[in-house]
Amino acid sequence: MRTIGIIIRKEFIQIFRDKTMLPIIIVMPFVQLLVLVFAATFEMKQINMVIVDQDQSASSRRLISKFEGSPFFTIDGSTFSDEQANDELLAGRSDIILKIPNGFEKNLVSGEVSDVQLLVNAINATVAGLTNAYSNYVIADFNKQMISENVNIIQPVKLKSVDVTYSYWYNPELNYKIYMLPGILVILITIIGAFLAALNIVREKEMGTIEQINVTPVQKFQFITGKLVPFWIIAMFELGFGLTLGKIIFDIPIVGNLGVLFGFAGVYLLVALGLGLLVSTMASTQQQVMFIIFFFLLTFIMMSGIFTPVESMPDWAQKVNIINPFAYFMRVIRMVLLKGSGFRDISREFFSLLIYAAIILSLAVWRYRKTA
């Protein structure tokens, strides 16, 4: 036990001695949280619209002013030439073109159905879908007004209707930030923890200092434990730090029990850091470690469901997620923070990770060779 304590102390001294690493550990996560959480949003604020109004009538102007009145659309130009409008789209200056053809009002008043054309820049399919939906709302609104103003002309028909009401639980304002923040937090503590741990042993190898440890009577498991604990503490500290920031700046809800969350995080970090150490025992240079870890990080992060729901992924990807520690924590941190899930709800994930941690750490101890 005393030996482990001494190794841990040595590691801490080494970490805090490096004056460039400290700000990276403290400041970087702070900046990242601030920037990335604000950046990660699909909420549409401004859709730039160009108008080609070939009708120039009261009705067409009314439709246009409906779009102007909508909080989503900004009219940033109108032209008579199709070509000019298309150029705007091509140059990426506008997101949607509204074309009102000649005879629009005539058709409308004579009681026929009038066409308008919407050209949406669809390079980003998600955004295009939303843009389309918002413009349909505006048009549906216009249509509704037409009906109510002309009830005497249009025969009201008795129609069946199903009244759909909806409620959004846990996040009634559909605030995307409180969903992203826990996700980004998971990435930050993993990057810091796993990378530091992974680079650690291999660095000693590169510097040659590992041989000095190898000739001491330190046991293999003592060595691995001593390497693991400091980064575990740093990562747990990062988590607390990040949550505090999230609470202060973004006012994220903390519905669940923090004890459950930190308990789970503790096991998760054993897996994440264990994987780092395992890679470290196998690699011979820091560069190798970085690229291997980097590769897995990028892959695992994307598959973990941080941006998109795991359920929508193909089956094989969901199977791969069984060995993806990110996927477990990504799910659990959101469940506990936002929905207040208790230990019973997350026990399956908890025990899976516990077994995972045991396997990874035994592998790391076994792979670490005291003989050169």
């Binding site: 069946k160 199903v162 759909v164 990378f195 820091q286 560069q287 190798q288 590769f295």
Partner: protein, 368 residues
């Protein structure tokens, strides 16, 4: 010159004698493309829903059938009471509960209206929004069919055309994005780490006392990575085209030239990082934090820049990947020529100049 060539040869040896790194280097673009192509889709599919049917009549069964027949939803559970809703949300799998009011069919027949409540787990706001929209659409589609609704007069019928991407494929987003991400990371990380490595191991001193000029040392270090990154760029373009059908509508030469420009920019950024960092660890963390996450988040790769707060939009102006992504989207998708991208190209060149100037100023040829 001969010495210089010898130096470049040494760098290539350094890279090739480490097959593990090499494997990762060439594996990254392939893996990322496959992941973005097949795994990270913003479409919702197979979302688990639960039904709380207080009526259990023909109409509710029919609507339920319609909902689970769609690709979007899978019925996982039938609930019996309100109290169960909270429970199923907390265990995590179910994203939406559909509640039919009692005597649904009867009310629909008699009063002409009946109520359905959709309760979504909105902890994932985006998905919740999509799910609720899809469910409402299915329901209103059902109602319309029941009414055999003829089109009302005096209405506008919008005719929508999705320009550049008729079938709304996500490949148009992720191929340019992946390209920017991979080129940025491979180039900047590799150079900054390999230079920092020479410093850390002390071999930089040996290089500095050699007859090679500092500029030659740096250029020699960088050239192999230009080659590697360029191979990566070509891999992404070819795979994107063969597997995902990403077109190259514009000039291929222009596309490759712009890629080369972006690679050089990333490399000069890598050099700059290495002049600041003393150890590989520091170099890596700077490249990772300052490059990876911002390249994903602030470049318009996944999240559109126009929707961000103004401050972030301003920050995004100094993100080189942003300009590169605009350029390659223009060339690959819109098929526009240099006339449409010269401004972005100039910005990239200017940024590169700044990075090179800064590195030259910061590069120390003497030891402290």
């Amino acid at each position: 010159m001969k010495q210089f060539l010898g130096f470049i040869k040494k760098e290539f040896y350094h890279i090739f004698r480490d097959p593990r790194t090499l494997l990762v280097l060439f594996g990254i673009p392939v893996a990322q493309l496959l992941i973005f192509g097949y795994v990270v889709t913003t479409e919702v599919k197979n979302i688990s829903v639960a039904i709380l049917d207080r009526s259990k009549d023909d109409v509710t069964r029919e609507i339920t059938q319609k909902i689970i027949e769609s690709d979007y939803f899978t019925l996982t559970q039938n609930l019996q009471s309100d109290t169960q809703i909270e429970e199923v949300f907390k265990t995590g799998n179910i994203k939406e509960v559909i509640v039919f009011e009692p005597n649904f069919a009867q009310k629909l027949g008699r009063d002409g209206t009946a109520q359905i409540q959709l309760i979504a787990d909105a902890s994932d706001a985006n998905t919740a929004n999509l799910i609720v929209n899809y469910t409402s659409a299915i329901i209103s589609d059902y109602v319309q069919k029941q009414n055999k609704l003829q089109l009302m007069p005096m209405q506008i019928k919008p005719e929508v055309r999705m320009v550049f991407n008729e079938s709304l494929q996500s490949v148009y987003m992720f191929v340019p994005g992946t390209m920017a991400l991979i080129l940025m990371l491979v180039s900047a990380m590799m150079t900054s780490i390999s230079i920092a490595r020479e410093k850390e191991l002390g071999t930089m001193e040996i290089l500095l006392v050699s007859p090679l000029k500092p500029a030659q040392i740096i250029i020699g270090k960088v050239i192999p990575y230009v080659a590697l990154a360029f191979i990566n760029a070509v891999t992404i373009i070819v795979l994107g085209n063969l597997i995902f059908g990403m077109p190259v509508n514009g000039s291929l030469t222009l596309l490759l030239a712009e890629s080369l420009l972006f690679i050089s920019l990333a490399l000069s950024l890598g050099i700059l990082i290495s002049t600041i960092a003393k150890t590989q660890q520091v170099a890596m963390f700077i490249s990772l934090f300052a490059l990876m996450l911002p390249t994903i988040m602030l470049s318009g790769f996944i999240f559109p820049i126009e929707n961000m707060p103004v401050v972030l939009q301003m920050i995004s102006h100094i993100m080189p990947p942003k300009y590169f992504i605009i350029i390659i989207k223009n060339i690959m998708i819109k098929g526009t020529g240099f006339g449409f991208v010269w401004k972005e190209t100039l910005v990239l060149i200017a940024m590169m100049m700044v990075f090179i100037l800064l590195s030259v100023k910061k590069f120390k040829i003497r030891l402290q």
